[in-house]
Symmetry: D2
Subunit: 149 residues, 4 copies
Amino acid sequence: MKANYIEDLQNWESEFSFYTEIPVRFSDTDMFGHLNNTKVFVYFEDARIQYLQTLTKVMEKAEQNPDMIPVVADLQCDFVKQIFFDEKLKVYVKANSLGTTSVDLHYMGKNEKNEIVFTGRGTVVQINKRTGRPVAWSEEEKKVFLQYA
Amino acid sequence: MKANYIEDLQNWESEFSFYTEIPVRFSDTDMFGHLNNTKVFVYFEDARIQYLQTLTKVMEKAEQNPDMIPVVADLQCDFVKQIFFDEKLKVYVKANSLGTTSVDLHYMGKNEKNEIVFTGRGTVVQINKRTGRPVAWSEEEKKVFLQYA
Amino acid sequence: MKANYIEDLQNWESEFSFYTEIPVRFSDTDMFGHLNNTKVFVYFEDARIQYLQTLTKVMEKAEQNPDMIPVVADLQCDFVKQIFFDEKLKVYVKANSLGTTSVDLHYMGKNEKNEIVFTGRGTVVQINKRTGRPVAWSEEEKKVFLQYA
Amino acid sequence: MKANYIEDLQNWESEFSFYTEIPVRFSDTDMFGHLNNTKVFVYFEDARIQYLQTLTKVMEKAEQNPDMIPVVADLQCDFVKQIFFDEKLKVYVKANSLGTTSVDLHYMGKNEKNEIVFTGRGTVVQINKRTGRPVAWSEEEKKVFLQYA
């Protein structure tokens, strides 16, 4: 079964380069004995923030101007394999396509056997916290995203 | 902007009847000052479990037979409005369509002003924990789902 | 076994009047099949904030003056009984003793059978976020705390 | 201000050798802009489990015999310094004293400037999940604990 945001799995997989390593915490599990599925979105978040910090310094800008924040407009995840306590996951992120004020980020999680354990995507919009309005990416930010697209 | 799993918003909204009230915990917020978006999936989970308990006693069966569990195959959420500490949300759940071994659950969150704050969906598959294989819904379970579809 | 902050259990128990009801979320459990013990501190937090809101409007003041926040200086918990998914707990809070800039809050959790499931305590200090310095309670705040001490 | 479980801070500090590195997740923060204090107990938990795995293979035994689990009887924490997103903490654990069926574990957190950010302690009891009764440490387990005491 293939997620509708993936056209060709091998192509899609090969386009990722950025990743971050995330260890599964004991408190990330639930009474079914495996990773609680809501925690995958926590992993997305950590990987996304590190990705954005690496690429565009969006977070640093947010610190200088506390009104500017990257906001998650939507998120989705397909759970491919069960994940257990003590696994160390690699969570990959890429900018799949770029809008004027938004970016469509894709996610891929792999376990230590290099198996895909989840895939996902979600739109991030840069907004002004005070006005609630989207703010366009600068030319420099676009350039950096495109290098990784 | 409308999520791709909603054809007609008014229709879609009118089909919900089950909901559960969920208070936003302080620890559900993050340093941006609002609800951390990953927590919405925790709310989905609580609403989903209560919905399944109410409808089909899936959870009780799981307790009798610890090998049978409802597994979330995929999840998605569209974040419509910011949510803040101390809000009390109503999280609605409905069975949007029914497969042999799965059900497509839809979610809608409303704040105290009766505004939609998020919408979402996700497939739940009933699997045998030991074999990892999907297990078909019983006729009785189907009947109960259909009453609420 | 009695915690060292409890002299006489019956006395101690009888002094509580404020409580808040907290349902155990599914994601609050862990792979041992019961409530993850770290979540009890989340319950303390929710009960504490509601208690402080009720008593002294500390949180509302914090919203008016974002520099003033109640800070938890220390926390401790004794886990008396196991807690499971779907239980509805009553979490009690009382001001056990009052300092110039701090208050020693005590906590007691009870399950639906009215059994004590955990006890705890912790010091809350009111600090100025900008200076990092403690700020004395106003006479009005002291009066309100003492009514409940 | 010194916690009551620490007699001499320098001595106490010098006795730690085991530690684990824990990065502060974005979702570990709260609307006050810093680490949510309940998350420190999650860090204790991760450090404790890795410590126990390293020392006595308690967790592996638990997997072979699902009835045997280490249970946290009490926990306490003194919050010394504020902690922020993106810090990498070292969380130290040591066995401060050993009972027949329990161990008193002490915790110390340090930031990248090598400053103590929190200290803590808590009793862990080995219990049989089925009977709910404590189970004595084996001679081998005691020996391993003592090497690190």
